[in-house]
């Protein structure tokens, strides 16, 4: 059998090739993937053959099927959330309701189809990062670095007419420019409208506010009745329904982005605030007289337990994790 001489019709009549098209046998799939990769000049013929096998078989191709399966999974996960953890879901619904009420008449309202929040938001894929941050690549090619203890919800309708995300916790967004599909992030009471850009939203429940930092590009932030347009280097924080302008430490953000957590001669208070900032956990320091601490260390993309293990080993501090809160003691 000389595969090199094969034309589309020959591939179609090869039973192993058909199993590859239908992905019904792992060995055949592996063989043909490898063979086609090594013989790229035959790709037009194999592609033609594959298309015809699927067409004559009246079947969906692998990616169409995957898409359908993802929809099913999103619906079932949503059902799990609704059925089992209704209480956890309530604050989020309340926040969404507050938000919806607050922005009537605002420019955002006009830009988003009304159904986006009610029906489309019902089916979404949920990404959750626990002790290690996660990178999420969205359907439009935008990337999200999801920080620890954070949840990102992507509606099934994402990238159809609009790109809307729901965040709890902290995430950095690198957004692909697409004027036709507005990109918005809702976090607590704030909504960020994006125009091709890199920005970060921090909205942990324990902090009671939302912070939006813009690294490059342009974003509009709306919260309750306030709205602001940010320039690179600027940051806004929500505070009792208002937006407070400020700046952020660019070096610290760039470290955060690269995953480098740096302690330089850090005191107890510095360790506490850096851990709180980095891992999105509330840190409690038990009041007592501590010995002076000077902690040095650098961690590249390490999980919270790993970092805590080194800190406690070197400083003799006791650090306990309980329900996303840290308790430091000596």
């Amino acid at each position: 059998m000389n595969l090199q001489a094969f034309m589309a019709e020959d591939f179609m009549l090869n039973e192993s090739f058909v199993r590859y098209c239908l992905q019904s046998n792992d060995e055949d799939v592996a063989f043909w993937n490898d063979w086609i990769a090594r013989n790229p000049h035959k790709r037009p013929e194999t592609e033609k053959a594959r298309e015809w096998v699927l067409r004559l078989g009246v079947r969906l191709n692998a990616s169409e099927k995957q898409e359908e399966f993802n929809k099913l999974r999103a619906m079932i996960e949503t059902d799990r959330v609704h059925g089992k953890r209704r209480q956890n879901y309530l604050p989020y619904v309340a926040a969404a309701a507050m938000f919806a009420g607050a922005i009537v008449g605002a420019w955002l309202w006009k830009k988003q189809p009304r159904t986006a929040h009610s029906t489309a938001a019902m089916a979404y894929t949920t990404y959750h990062a626990d002790s290690v941050r996660k990178q999420v690549i969205l359907a439009d090619g935008s990337t999200v670095i999801l920080n620890c203890n954070s949840t990102l919800k992507v509606p099934a309708s994402f990238n159809q007419q609009e790109r809307h995300l729901i965040l709890q916790g902290e995430a950095l967004y690198d957004v692909q420019k697409d004027d036709k599909r507005p990109f918005t992030v809702t976090a607590g009471q704030a909504t960020v409208q994006v125009l091709g850009t890199v920005f970060k939203v921090r909205a942990y429940l324990f902090e009671n506010n939302v912070q939006v930092s813009l690294l490059s590009g342009k974003v509009n932030v709306a919260a309750n009745n306030a709205a602001a347009a940010l320039l690179p280097g600027q940051k806004v924080t929500t505070s009792r329904g208002r937006l407070i302008a400020g700046t952020f430490d660019a070096a610290r953000e760039s470290d955060w982005r690269s995953g480098r957590l740096l302690f330089k001669d850090a005191s107890l208070q510095e360790i506490a605030s850096l851990l709180e900032y980095w891992y999105g956990v509330k840190v409690h320091v038990a009041p007592r007289n501590y010995q002076a601490i000077h902690f040095n260390g650098q961690f590249m993309n390490k999980s919270l337990p790993e970092v805590i293990a080194s800190i406690t080993y070197i400083t003799n501090l006791k650090i306990n994790i309980s329900k996303n809160e840290l308790f430091i003691n000596q």
Binding site: G57, E68, D79
Partner: protein
């Protein structure tokens, strides 16, 4: 109704998956989904010729199963049971679609009619030009060719199985199919040529 002739082993596996999902493990449900997807899709398409509607109906059926997992008892024949759910779902969707059309009002709850394979192949093509070509080529193929294509690609029978069923030799089946494939292939290359011509123009 083309209920899949699931091999005995597949039937047992389905029962295991069914138990899994009734114990709140959604992966059991997902396995049944992957196992039956192509068959459900085939049947759906042959009834409504609307990809979107078929895809939606399949997912609806499985979401329903998941929601009712606590009330369900394991059916004797799992594929049969799911097919019936699917058929109901389709006629419901069809009813919605034709709510205002008096023509369909009478047949809301009737057994939907299946289209023959050939009609499905033609009807599936969204592109009018391609549909026309498909029609033309299928008209040129002999009944024997079409039978083999149907068995090999739609029913996914192996050449040996086709040989047993039709008492033609494997060699004959192979050669008959090969000629048919070459004929089919022509319409595609012809179409890409016309596309190119439009682009140049």
């Amino acid at each position: 109704m083309p209920v899949p002739d699931s091999k005995p082993a597949a039937g047992e596996a389905l029962a295991v998956f069914w138990t899994e999902f009734q114990q709140h493990n959604e992966h059991g449900l997902y396995k049944i989904y992957h196992e039956l997807y192509d068959n459900l899709y085939h049947y759906g398409i042959s009834v409504v010729l609307d990809q979107q509607m078929v895809k939606e109906a399949i997912n609806d059926v499985f979401v329903e199963l998941w929601k009712k997992r606590e009330q369900l008892i394991m059916p004797d024949h799992i594929p049969n049971y799911i097919f019936i759910c699917f058929k109901r779902r389709l006629s419901k969707l069809l009813g919605k679609e034709h709510k205002r059309s008096a023509k369909y009002a009478g047949q809301l709850f009737q057994e939907p009619e299946e289209q023959p394979y050939e009609a499905v192949l033609i009807g599936m093509e969204a592109d009018v030009q391609l549909r026309h070509k498909m029609e033309k080529v299928l008209a040129q193929l002999t009944a024997r060719q079409k039978e083999f294509i149907h068995l090999r690609f739609y029913e996914n029978m192996s050449m040996e199985e086709i040989s047993l069923k039709t008492s033609a030799s494997v060699r004959t089946i192979y050669n008959t199919l090969h000629t048919a494939m070459v004929q089919l292939r022509r319409i595609l290359s012809f179409l890409s040529l016309t596309l190119l011509w439009y682009l140049v123009k």
